[in-house]
Symmetry: C2
Subunit: 227 residues, 2 copies
């Protein structure tokens, strides 16, 4: 019943927001027996993707606290009913954006390693798009909750664990291929790269200039390689 | 005139808070011509130090936003008048705690290097005192302002610059002593150590376990040394 109601809300969005149907009336859905148009999984996925992308910009621009439901409506062009049909609440929406990010990172890590993720981040932060620093900043904003809110921390940890696992597996493959230094355990090398990644996040989120970070990443990369 | 009023406020603190005199009455100080007891510079410095120490715990426990003026009064045992006699506002108080921290860091860096600062941080975070992660977390909380509030960013940057300079100077001395690798510019090595320090701050502030960070720091240290 819940999803039906929120789907209905999706269709009856206020003027100026993206409306799928404009001929519906604000009647209690429980009183009607008209069939609701079926939405394909592809359409749902596309909508979900649109919401995540717009929400990401909104969190980047206003921060976690500043991204109010009203601003999320404006950013996505959807009503709160439509947004929260897909995501239970703002926290779930934020975590979904972070999980989306993590999934992309896991792919890059598996293919090119965590240092490449850092290089990409540095490139994006240096380009005209101001979203990168903002989005990293909104992640710092929730750092207090990671220490004080166990449920939130658990959901965030799943995201971090996926990246750590991908990093560890790639390093293990590199060790087997003989390109990795073999005097330090893979686990230590994994945590070394994660430390550098965290440092990059804090550096860029606080709006500091890139400085020599490109060369610093060369040094990070060399430190895990067989010399 | 301003300082006189706030000194007066200091003496007439509510019951239960630390009161220097208890016989004064809440009259408008502008109407009185009684002499104010003179406070020596040593006493002012001691009071300033007490406030900073209590404020640090308060920021650590409640975060920057959560450390309200009321909570700062409770933590310091002083009235807001007394606190803001020494520090213009909450922002100045926060920056003063950070500057105090930075001054201690600069000393350790000059003597033992930035890696030692990280080792000390790791030790303190691992001990029973919960202040370390909290205080680092409150620094992350203001990260958004570092990107969006130029005046705040400027004051913070002075603090960071002092640490960077101390790091650079120590590395330069190590290079001259022949213990530092000589194939990478000192500036890149400085920023490499700062990246690791930032990573440590983010790691500890989010309450993650220390894991292999001790060994990771060995790796960081080895990466700047002549092999």
């Amino acid at each position: 019943m819940h999803s039906w109601i929120t789907t209905f809300g999706d269709h009856c969005t206020p003027q100026g927001r993206q409306a799928v149907r404009t001929d519906c009336k604000r009647t209690n859905p429980r009183d009607t027996i008209e069939p609701v148009p079926r939405v394909s999984q592809d359409q749902l996925d596309a909508r979900r993707h649109e919401i995540l992308s717009a929400a990401r910009s909104c969190f980047a621009r206003f921060g976690y606290e500043g991204a109010t439901v009203r601003r999320l409506e404006d950013a996505t062009g959807l009503s709160r009913g439509a947004i929260f049909h897909h995501f239970r609440d703002k926290e779930s929406l934020f975590l979904a954006v972070a999980e989306d990010d993590a999934a992309a990172m896991v792919e890059t890590v598996a293919r090119n390693g965590l240092v490449q993720v850092m290089r990409d981040l540095l490139d994006r932060a240096g380009s005209s798009d101001g979203d990168t620093a903002g989005w990293l900043g909104s992640q710092l904003e929730v750092s207090r909750r990671l220490r004080t809110d166990p449920a939130f921390a658990r959901r965030w940890a799943e995201r971090s664990a996926a990246i750590a696992t991908a990093t560890r597996e790639r390093l293990q493959r590199q060790r087997e291929a003989g390109v990795l230094r073999d005097d330090v355990p893979v686990e230590v090398l994994t945590q070394f790269l994660e430390l550098a990644y965290d440092g990059m996040v804090l550096h860029l989120a606080t709006g500091r200039p890139a400085g020599e970070l490109g060369k610093v990443l060369d040094l990070v990369e060399a430190a895990v390689r067989r010399s």
